[in-house]
Symmetry: C2
């Protein structure tokens, strides 16, 4: 896989690198003038070939569609502790989520500041770069559990609950967009599960054992990838 | 889910707790005399009800089969950095692996000491306790890649490779034991992939993007759980 560098506004021709891009290609990856890489714009899911001209300038080729997620997947997650939230963004990006909504729930032990969205979005772009994905999930922070569920949009709606039915059955007939909701370390309260049920979320579980909150997205989205892959 | 405490040799009747067990039920979980918990023996996949009599003594009830993994799943992994190896043991335990084999491969950046197996085994028992699983995977360290593959035993054999075929096709007809092999951070070399192919491992990928090595077990075993759950 070629070196991939996120870059906005991909227009063919010569342009200057910003300080972070220049550091990344020159210092981190030691590219020399004449070396090539792939520039990609995660917000538009396009990419192009790029040639380094000198330490601060590149020449971009014509833009083409990048390899992007093919299925709309929204992932709603009750905020876990900070490093777990970061890890979940990485996992969900690698496994094709297109939208992530964090929300403080009853059993969340942290209340993330709104500014955390900037950090998560950057982690998502970086994870997209590493996994060869040309788009990145949109990450946001909802005001409360009901708002997060209401923002879910169309699609098959599933809330992860260790006492729920088999995920296989819920995914079997599902076509098109998917929406998942999962709780933080201590799980969801009966009231939160009821609020989800009232909005058409089916309670589902995966596997015979109780996963930690940070394992759930990779396992569930891995299962989704199995039935989505073409 | 009741508090679960790992304990060897479950025989009905009164017995003393060892120092670690006493600390765990008394200090960490603040159980008082008369409180109950579940004692389980991960090496035999049995469990029993237990009643705390005083700070150091319990009364055990009759043993019963614990909820254990139902499918034999061996997971072979090229050693990643230390904290990732720990995380992989936790993920694989929650998702039902019954046997884990770590091995140093060409692109492994660390050479774990043989004593690391003790640590991994402890992590596996602790993860089993947390996820309500009555057994724990056997963890070992193989001498080299070929030895790890040769130790795989019977079953459908799959090596994870981003350029491989669809995992769905390999799992579709698979009944009974499964064996997976995955590379460390930098992946497997062509020679390592060839050694796997020569031993009947089919090269498979999951999803459209390239997962980090530490995401692979949760995603793949989540997919396996989808087609295994009854």
């Amino acid at each position: 896989m070629s070196l991939r560098v996120p870059m906005a506004d991909l227009v063919p021709g010569e342009r200057a690198l910003d300080a972070e891009q220049a550091r990344y290609v020159g210092r981190v990856h030691r590219l020399k003038p004449g070396d090539t890489f792939v520039a990609f714009d995660p917000s538009r899911a396009i990419e192009c070939d790029a040639e380094l001209l000198d330490a601060r300038r590149v020449r971009l080729g014509p833009a083409r569609p990048a390899r992007a997620a093919t299925r709309a997947i929204t992932w709603i997650h009750g905020c876990p502790k900070g490093d777990k939230a970061d890890a979940i963004v990485r996992d969900a990006t690698e496994l094709g989520a297109t939208r992530m909504i964090y929300v403080q729930t009853t059993r969340s032990v942290t209340r993330p500041p709104a500014a955390r969205v900037v950090r998560w979005s950057k982690i998502a772009r970086e994870a997209a770069r590493q996994c060869g994905r040309g788009d990145a999930p949109d990450v946001s922070l909802a005001k409360d559990w009901e708002s997060a569920l209401d923002a879910a949009g169309d699609g098959t709606r599933i809330v992860l609950d260790p006492t729920g039915g088999a995920l296989r059955d819920a995914l079997a007939g599902a076509r098109g967009p998917l929406v998942f909701a999962a709780g933080p370390e201590g799980g969801l309260t009966p009231g939160e599960l009821a609020a989800a049920a009232a909005r058409g979320f089916a309670a589902c579980s995966l596997g015979a054992f109780v996963m930690r909150t940070e394992t759930v997205p990779a396992a569930v989205l891995g299962a989704v990838a199995l039935v989505t892959e073409s």
